[in-house]
Symmetry: C2
Subunit: 381 residues, 2 copies
């Protein structure tokens, strides 16, 4: 039962590093100087490329873009485009890297704007910020995905500070072929209303109407799991999936899925091995504690998860061993290129190992069909 | 393979509600007025019993002490001793309730001092606070456990603000027969140094020397997992086990177990279903990220967990299904009387169900022998 050659790997979580021209090509001339642009700073070892935006300096052009390095070389973030392999920022080079890796299609999150575009939340000039969001989405559709439409799944970011503008951007990008929306796993740490309010209802309604899943990448709340200021960063990396556990628990005890019965959420990079534990625990709590709480009294939280939430994993043996408790049709695979969690360029090789004992039809669901159905991204015959 | 009659259930996590006389019987006469005492306040429905300590009012005498109530009655905390069944605060009555429940022996955490005695951290008069800690430990040893030494496993709290005093109290109580130490899952939110410092080394050394496991009950960091101020409390209850995940990740990437190779930690009420996911993830991170970080380079974090950490569960079917990935000898059972997560008075009945498909020797390990060995609490012939 090895991964058959006719099974195409679809990655629901990769990352692209924006090339310098994304905003300079798309913003009105008068705004290019204040919009995001790359500045070469002099310094040791040939200088540094940094993003400048509204006078603020963003020194990491491609956080964690380590594809092509060995683990012993991790820990030093790329400081210049030339520190990265071109597949990080060029779609044509990315295709070559995907071919090397045995990956057929991939959805890529932003880097400079952060995974859910939350850099633009901090903007002083929100009119400019909206143009920046639209420019990124247009780059995604017209340049990145246009380079190979059957290989790239287009995802949009939203102007999260303005619900009406979010709805308009969902409708605009949906009309242009977008297949997913990058959304925050928790708006509260960003200073925005929670999933327990009615604030986001127009956004959820628009996403549901357009049949666009919300991809909630871990970390998009802006909160990293930490234990102590002096704990090694390995603790935070290990616990990042807890962000997705928090998001799942928050959503399944919220009114969201009761109001939007066709809304879909994918927990990008969240892992899946924790899902059976969380669902069992949530139902246990619901059985005992729903009576006196403002939660839905009729539908068990695990049932809401199974209807609405997709898990995403890179390399999660326990999760695959627990696949029936999660739901074979709710598991999707990811590559995470060019980040350090990725197995690139050995993703397919590693997938052959982890799927070795799993029946063909189940493997095919998890590596390809679940993602194609979730993102309305059919095979091209 | 049902739970055999000769298998004794040992609960590693129950709770007692302190009767009013704990400190009034033990503090010097001059300190009784300022030490913890119960005051009856007039009010609706017969008034309220509250703890007063150093002029501060602690209104919940037995948070979540709901044994004997149905879930529909949860949510209203006991306001008076007469709102609770006597087994909450009387050892003789507790034995009767344990017999009803089919439980042979139990370890009980404090209520008013909080699970790790952290109420005394807030004290203005630390000399008085030390006497209060000692009084609770003496109550535990001389009154609670003395009522039935083969039924109660004695646990001590520590004066966490003073490492030398902690060491002295470990040694004093060890000499008097204590079997466990209640310790915080994370000192940082309490304003204390982290596990990544040398601060706690004397405490860990004393616990190791006395062969006393550290029981880290979830919530003892003083931090509850939350997503949003308006999220229902069910979200927090569901996610409480994440505190134990955080504690485990923090410890296995810390120097603690490298410095104290015989130190033992039990994650009270943390659940076990998340353990395989966390260990797989920790090793994945260690494989890729240890090179540039201040973490041990030789021993995989999962190996440290398996040597040093015991999981504790009430009702965790996925955890039991995953027992080989956790380690049969690292799983202990708990009742959680009189809290709302408990199955009392049906703990044994429920245990018969959840252990039904598990081989006898494994069941016996998990319900009895692991705990007897961990706490040096042998069967009385």
């Amino acid at each position: 039962m090895p991964l058959r050659e006719d099974m195409q790997l679809i990655s629901v979580d990769d990352h692209l590093v924006e090339p310098p021209h994304v905003w300079q090509d798309r913003l009105p001339a008068a705004l290019r100087e204040i919009g995001p642009r790359i500045v070469r700073e002099d310094g040791a070892a040939g200088g540094t490329d940094v993003w400048m935006y509204e006078g603020r300096r963003y020194p990491q052009i491609g956080l964690n873009a380590v594809a092509g390095k060995s683990p012993e070389q991790f820990g030093t973030e790329p400081m210049r485009y030339t520190d990265m392999i071109p597949g990080c920022y060029e779609p044509e080079a990315r295709i070559i890297d995907m071919d090397l890796d045995g990956v057929q299609a991939a959805l890529s999150f932003p880097s400079f704007p952060r995974f859910a575009g939350t850099v633009f939340l901090q903007a002083e000039d929100k009119a400019l910020a909206l143009l920046c969001v639209q420019a990124w989405n247009d780059f995604m559709l017209d340049e990145w995905c246009a380079a190979a439409p059957e290989r790239f799944i287009p995802i949009a970011i939203l102007p999260l500070w303005d619900v009406e503008a979010c709805v308009a951007e969902i409708q605009r990008t949906a009309a242009n072929g977008i297949k997913a929306i990058s959304f925050t796993e928790n708006p509260v740490p960003l200073g925005l209303p929670s999933f327990h309010t009615t604030h986001w209802d127009p956004v959820f309604a628009a996403a549901q109407e357009a049949d666009l899943p919300l991809c909630m990448h871990f970390g998009t709340s802006g909160q990293a799991p930490t234990t102590a200021p002096d704990a090694p960063f390995a603790v935070t990396i290990t616990l990042f999936g807890c962000n997705s556990m928090f998001a799942a628990a928050d959503l399944i005890f919220s009114p969201v899925f009761h109001k939007f019965p066709r809304l879909k959420v994918a927990l990008a990079e969240g892992g899946i091995g924790w899902v059976p534990y969380l669902l069992e625990r949530a139902d246990y709590v619901w059985d005992r504690h729903r009576w006196y709480q403002n939660v839905n009294q009729d539908v068990a939280p695990s049932e809401l998860f199974r209807r609405h939430i997709w898990g995403c994993f890179i390399d999660d043996v326990h999760g695959l061993n627990s696949r029936y408790a999660i739901g074979i049709d709710r598991i999707t695979w990811e590559c995470d290129y060019p980040h350090s969690d990725s197995n690139w360029p050995n993703s397919r090789k590693r997938a052959i190992e982890v799927f070795a004992e799993i029946p063909d039809d189940e493997v095919h669901r998890m590596v390809e069909w679940n993602s194609r159905e979730l993102f309305n991204f059919p095979r091209v015959a």
